[in-house]
């Protein structure tokens, strides 16, 4: 990994015991577009703000929410290119798991291996940490819906509901007020859209956000089409 001239790690401890590169990576995440996720009792929803800087960008080609296995998906806040590397690695690791066991990799294992990869980049020669935080949504081996956050340091946390990126503090406060333990997936999608709208700059349409869901009924991760998103938006108003 890296040039032989850089066999030492570029991420080193500061005097106060912090890894400054990771702190700075978290800053990069906090500058990224807002993403959030909510774990309902019968599914998980993740959503992100896809607003582009210019209206000339051909937005149909931009996908932020990606499917990793049949029943799990990622979304991120931070540097898009770093995210795509992680998606590639995660997909490969999930297929390797399937090749060995003929069983789909449970979400908890996927998260552990992805977090392991992110940690490697904080302790290897000639590389910098990933500038993304991931939100991982999926159904675990026993069918329970799970939402995880994975940070550039490689730390991962399971959440009932969380937000990352630009407006995360307000978004998290909003979610704290609205979240209930026995929420259903439909309510969760509505709450997610309302939370996203809270910090949205300008008008939120079905084209400049992305929503992905996985339900415990069919255990398939899917992206909502713009038409489906528009239906939810219409219901919300």
């Amino acid at each position: 990994m890296g040039d032989s001239a850089y066999s030492f790690s570029l991420t080193t401890f500061s005097r106060t015991g912090k890894l400054l590169q990771i702190e700075y990576a978290l800053n990069a995440v906090a500058n990224g577009r807002t993403s959030l996720g909510i774990c309902a009792k019968d599914g998980v929803v993740i959503a992100t703000d896809k607003k582009m800087t210019s209206s000339l960008v051909d937005i149909h080609d931009v996908t932020k929410i990606e499917e990793i296995t049949k029943d799990s998906g990622f979304v991120y806040s931070g540097l898009g290119p770093d995210y795509r590397v992680l998606v590639r690695k995660a997909r490969k690791s999930a297929q390797t798991y399937f090749r060995t066991y003929m069983e789909h990799e449970p979400v908890s294992q996927l998260v552990k291996s992805t977090a392991g990869v992110m940690q490697e980049y904080t302790q290897s020669g000639g590389v910098r940490p990933f500038g993304v935080s991931l939100l991982v949504a999926g159904c675990d081996a026993d069918g329970t819906p799970r939402l995880y956050q994975v940070d550039p340091s490689g730390a991962y946390f399971a959440w009932k509901a969380t937000a990352i990126g630009k407006n995360y503090v307000n978004a998290k406060n909003f979610l704290e007020k609205r979240f209930q333990d026995d929420m259903e997936l439909e309510d969760a999608i509505h709450t997610a859209l309302l939370t996203l709208r809270e910090g949205f700059e300008g008008e939120m349409t079905a084209r400049n956000i992305e929503v992905g869901i996985v339900s415990t009924k069919d255990r398939v991760f899917r992206l909502l089409t713009p038409e489906q998103v528009q239906d939810y938006l219409d219901e919300a108003t």
Binding site: R99, T100, Y101, M102, E103, S108, Q109, K112, A141, D142
Partner: protein, 252 residues
């Protein structure tokens, strides 16, 4: 070579009568001692012993009603010489999953260690037990990794899945799986074992019947095989637990 009549067939028949089947060691001994034994009239053929028949084994697994049984013989030999009468070939992976390994004894032991290693790590990392189907696929993967220098074992997997349904599978030494509903066999006397199982097996046997059937099938099969026998052991796996019984048979 043609005889005076000029036909080949007759000559071949006469030659077949003088075929002598001996082991490779004996053949090499004769060759080294006296080269003049070998005239064209006598053909000495040596029989190659397969590496999978070096130590000897007999393993049967059968499915019953919400239970499975797996049985093996106890012999460990080095070709004709018996070396141990208590060599275990069936190993517990979890309370509901047993694996029987037939073939070269060193590979049997090593693969048992490898499976235990992989199972322990799986249980620690995933915080759940391995299901029989997953173990079967894992074992198939491990065997195929050594496709061009294989492990000389032919495994048998017997277990109950989390719903309590029986699971049986077997594979060849390079991992070609075969999942069945009734019985699977492996070892040096598979011909005998298949015959006994086809005859004695009935679907949906309870635990007691399954034990009787397995024991009879195993004992009769190994009685006629020089390389397996010396008693046996039968494990019956039910949702409540496992009952293991030793079989005492012909000690030869």
């Amino acid at each position: 070579a043609r005889n005076k009549k000029g036909t080949r067939n007759e000559t071949r028949e006469r030659k077949d009568q003088s075929h002598l089947r001996i082991s490779r060691e004996l053949f090499e001994y004769y060759v080294s001692r006296n080269k003049s034994i070998f005239s064209r009239r006598y053909r000495i053929k040596f029989e190659e012993m397969s590496i999978l028949e070096y130590n000897g084994a007999a393993i049967i697994a059968m499915a019953g009603k919400n239970c499975v049984g797996i049985a093996s013989d106890n012999r460990l030999g080095i070709q004709a010489q018996t070396v141990a009468m208590d060599f275990k070939k069936v190993f517990k992976i979890t309370d509901r999953l047993y694996v029987g390994l037939a073939g070269l004894a060193t590979d049997v032991q090593t693969l048992e260690q490898m499976l235990r290693f992989r199972n322990n790590l799986y249980e620690l990392r995933e915080e759940r037990k391995m299901s029989p189907k997953v173990l079967s696929n894992l074992l198939s993967h491990l065997l195929y990794e050594k496709r061009f220098g294989p492990w000389f074992v032919e495994p048998v997997i017997a277990g109950l899945d989390d719903k309590g349904n029986p699971y049986l599978s077997t594979m060849d030494l390079i991992g070609a799986q075969c999942e069945t509903k009734d019985f699977v066999v492996s070892g040096t006397c598979t011909g005998n074992m298949y015959g006994m199982c086809e005859t004695l097996f009935r679907p949906n046997m309870d635990a007691e019947d399954l034990f009787e059937t397995l024991a009879q099938a195993l004992m009769s099969s190994t009685d006629r095989d020089a390389l397996s026998g010396w008693g046996g052991v039968v494990h019956i796996i039910t949702p409540e637990g496992v009952i293991s019984r030793e079989l005492k048979g012909r000690q030869d």
